[in-house]
Symmetry: C3
Subunit: 143 residues, 3 copies
């Protein structure tokens, strides 16, 4: 278990640009503002989406597309360092006109219709993503 | 992109009244306590629900009802000003006895069975909802 | 309505142990670190899950199992006191390889594949779970 105590840094609230890529927009904001660790939540709508499911046996992400406009029910994630750059890890839940819910790991290729986001920066010991042998995933290790 | 830095204001944790309207209860608390900007998360259960999906082409919300008791898997949203009053924007995910998940934009007409809520006030430049031509939605603009 | 104002205590970010029980791992961390009130959010993946739905009429939780590896789309909850011990109340949303979403009240018996968690401690008047007659649930009362 790696569970560190952090000080709270800056808090940001606002909206991301229409038609921007959801994952890339968040990552870009963090890179421009020097946010290397934090958590965020977002809601809104997307024009379509690329999600993924991690196959725990084959140890590969299997991507799938959602090719219609959807409500963004919840998008939750965190920011940490990988290869020295802030990267975003997020899971996204979407819903259609009848409330049916489709969810997964957020991938690039998800264009924003509207997105309201709250970002909380954290300050303290870096968390760095490096390959984990047990799961095959890029998990957090102490910097 | 409008993404401002805020100071953290007051933090509230507790539960909303049984049989109260979910959206109106949160809005009422914010109005009574002078919370004009913030974010919140809630969990619990509802007796039934009114949700909506925004049709990005026709630019209208299409409402739908969930006419049975459901778990409130996640209710996430924010508080900001519209026409000078604090209003709530929230998305709600619900689940039934087999775990099937129905989600959407929270509308009035969703009676609470039990609801535990955390509200974080934010202090700084107001975010004000006004009509956005690109999306047809009441999005945030600088006050 | 019981909705108190709190000061923000410690903030923790990190990951829980592979194969640990999701609910018990969070509760254990809180007990070891003296966290008696707070909120948390987590994302990751589980090897399987035990969820429940509260039947509002019969006033019983009805459990059900999810017997396959799933993405942990969102896990949200809070920590408060029951019988003098910190306990966790959480709702969990999961998704499979096609994005289908299954959600419910988190029960013991949900083994972690990978789990990244943010915990925010709150300081102030205790919230204590005691039986509520109106709902049959262990709801919050002032300590």
């Amino acid at each position: 278990m790696i569970l560190n105590r952090y000080e709270r840094g800056r808090s940001f609230l606002g909206r991301l640009p229409h038609e921007g890529d959801l994952l890339k927009s968040i990552e870009g904001f963090c890179q421009e503002n020097g946010i290397t660790l934090g958590v965020f939540t977002a809601l809104g709508a997307v024009k379509s989406a690329r999600l993924a499911y991690y196959d725990q046996e084959s140890r590969e992400y299997r991507g799938f597309a959602v090719d219609e406009p959807m409500e963004m029910v919840s998008c939750r994630g965190n920011i940490s360092l990988r290869d020295g750059q802030p990267i975003v890890h997020a899971h996204l839940a979407l819903s259609d006109g009848e409330g049916r819910t489709i969810s997964g790991h957020l991938m690039p290729g998800t264009p924003i219709f509207a997105c309201e986001i709250f970002i909380q920066e954290l300050l303290g010991e870096p968390l760095v993503r490096r390959q984990d042998e047990e799961t095959g995933l890029p998990l957090w290790w102490r910097g």
